[in-house]
């Protein structure tokens, strides 16, 4: 709130790297606070450290806004949430949870062009000037989460979304850049269609990325209209290459969802579409099996077992499938089969952090069979 002054001078658009470096006092304060937030995120270990993938995402941003090369700094946040946000100093953050949902470079460009437009139009400053009771309350809530004060003030609007009019402006300007970079207009609609399907299926509130945006349905309609007027792009979008580049993010994300017990998300992502699951590691049925085990409704243990077995068939060297199948069988008193699976797990996963548990199960099962 200290940053909200009485400044009424117009907020300029940033149209070049030189523009971005020649700052007013107000911009300078925003940049400084944004930098502090950058540092805070890094210190917390929140970043997804994959240089090659980060460079690739950066290159897409540079293609969209070549005149801002060197000012834009696109980073991946190691977070399962569906979100992306831009700070006032040109830092653009994209959560791995969102990146993993995208099917093509064009869809990535849709998100980035929108976020970069927030930066070029200095929406951070506009939002600060128009801060209202609602956003003040939102800032108050976020302050208690422990991230440094100034950084959080700057990031609060960026992370939780801007006003509807600023979001619309970012949509429109971002879309122009997207088309100018010759991405297929139809792909931009798909991003929101996919996300809407997920939001509905999981019955969650709109994710942060869309919390104060025009509602997703409205947004889909608007992007569809824009894409119809633009026509088809000449440039072909290499979906296969994109999925290959981002494979590691999807692989890691399955593990994150498992560790967070987000079994509903895992079931939504993996259940039912074998073809789509080619984008995940061969052993994806293991995660589906784990999701059913965690959900633990009627019939879920049978589904878990069949999926562990599917994972073993598809990826015989993936050790966790044997451990979890062994546990399930042990609980069902199918001791001989359980023992076989645990033995095999210990053979191929000798360095795993949890081998002491499995060795204990083996001892217990052997004692049972001797008695």
């Amino acid at each position: 709130m200290l940053l909200v002054g009485c400044n009424t001078s117009p907020v300029r658009s940033l149209t070049s790297a030189a523009d971005a470096k020649a700052q007013t006092d107000e911009e300078d304060r925003i940049w400084f606070a944004s930098k502090k937030f950058d540092i805070s995120l890094e210190q917390q270990g929140a970043m997804y450290d994959d240089v090659e993938l980060t460079d690739y995402v950066q290159s897409v941003g540079n293609r969209l806004y070549p005149e801002l090369k060197g000012v834009l700094r696109i980073q991946l946040v190691n977070s399962p949430d569906l979100n992306a946000f831009a700070l006032g100093n040109g830092s653009i953050y994209l959560n791995t949870g969102l990146l993993a949902r995208l099917d093509s470079e064009a869809q990535l460009a849709t998100i980035l062009s929108h976020e970069i437009a927030h930066f070029t139009e200095q929406h951070n400053i506009k939002q600060r000037r128009n801060v209202n009771a609602a956003s003040t309350a939102a800032i108050g809530i976020t302050l208690i989460s422990g991230i440094p004060l100034s950084g959080h003030l700057i990031a609060a609007g960026a992370i939780s979304g801007y006003s509807q009019s600023l979001e619309r402006e970012a949509d429109e300007l971002g879309y122009k850049r997207y088309v100018a970079a010759q991405y297929d207009p139809r792909e931009s609609v798909k991003v929101f269609e996919h996300l809407l399907a997920e939001v509905k299926a999981l019955e969650i509130d709109q994710p942060f990325l869309f919390s104060s945006h025009p509602r997703l349905e409205e947004r889909i309609a608007s992007f569809r209209k824009l894409s119809e007027t633009t026509g088809k792009s000449k440039k072909l979008d290499a979906e296969g290459a994109f999925l290959e580049r981002t494979y590691i993010v999807r692989r890691d994300l399955l593990q994150r969802y498992l560790e967070l017990h987000q079994y509903r998300t895992l079931i939504l992502l993996l259940d039912g579409d074998e073809f789509k699951n080619k984008r995940y590691p061969e052993y994806w049925p293991f995660y589906l099996g784990e999701a059913f085990r965690q959900r633990d409704e009627e019939g879920d243990l049978e589904l878990a077992e069949s999926n562990y077995r599917r994972a073993i068939d598809r990826a015989p060297d993936f050790a966790p499938s044997y451990r979890q199948l062994g546990l399930l069988l042990m609980k069902a008193d199918r001791n001989g089969e359980a023992l076989e699976n645990f033995d095999y797990y210990l053979t191929i996963a000798s360095g795993a952090v949890d081998t002491a548990y499995v060795s204990g199960y083996v001892r217990t099962l052997k004692l049972r069979s001797n008695n």
Binding site: E42, Q44, G146, P148, L260, V353
Partner: protein
């Protein structure tokens, strides 16, 4: 679990009955209601709502926290309960999930270094050793021993910055664990 710590601190601030007590040879044997243990002499302790907090230089520098959680409130963030018939490895997994869910972005800096079965007061439990970064980037190490009984989920948690504090007081935690006894 983070929330438990915050609740504990709030309870201390609001309560005039609770206050930090220095631990000396006379009061080192602590009766926690369902358990008893020997606390390190020279440290200070405070109790509130089934939580016991022990520290020497302040909770940010090192703390041992003993908590007894009701089964239906053990893993509220992930909407799961604990129960006495759960395997220690299952409890450990739920504990990690709860920790991750409590923090922003799923607590990406949390790393599980060790996860193994232990026996404490003749009860099978788990021991987790984890590292994580605080909001200002300080690397912490955390050891948690847990087990479930009819009376609740028991957690004995030692955490301190890796630099200097964790290693020098780890033996105190080990001694406290050895002295831990469930009351019959």
């Amino acid at each position: 679990m983070l929330r438990n710590f915050v609740v504990l601190l709030c309870a201390l601030l609001l309560s005039s009955c609770n206050s930090w007590q220095r631990i000396d040879k006379k009061n080192a044997e602590i009766d926690g209601g369902t358990y008893e243990l020997l606390a390190p002499v020279g440290w200070v302790q405070i109790k509130a709502n089934n939580h016991l907090l022990i520290t020497k230089d302040g909770p940010g520098l090192q703390k041992i926290q003993v908590s007894v959680l009701q089964h239906d409130k053990a893993f509220e963030k992930i909407e799961k309960k604990s129960s006495p018939d759960m395997l220690p490895a299952e409890l450990a997994d739920l504990y990690i999930a709860e920790l991750r869910k409590e923090r922003e972005n799923g607590f990406p800096s949390l790393e599980v270094v060790a996860n193994r079965p232990v026996s404490i007061s003749d009860t099978k439990g788990f021991e987790l050793v984890m590292t994580y970064k605080s909001s200002n980037g300080l690397l912490y190490k955390r050891s948690v021993t847990g087990f479930a009984k009819e009376s609740g989920l028991f957690l004995i948690d030692y955490q301190a910055p890796v630099l200097h504090y964790y290693p020098i007081d780890h033996a105190k935690y080990e001694n406290l664990l050895k002295s831990f006894k469930l009351k019959t």
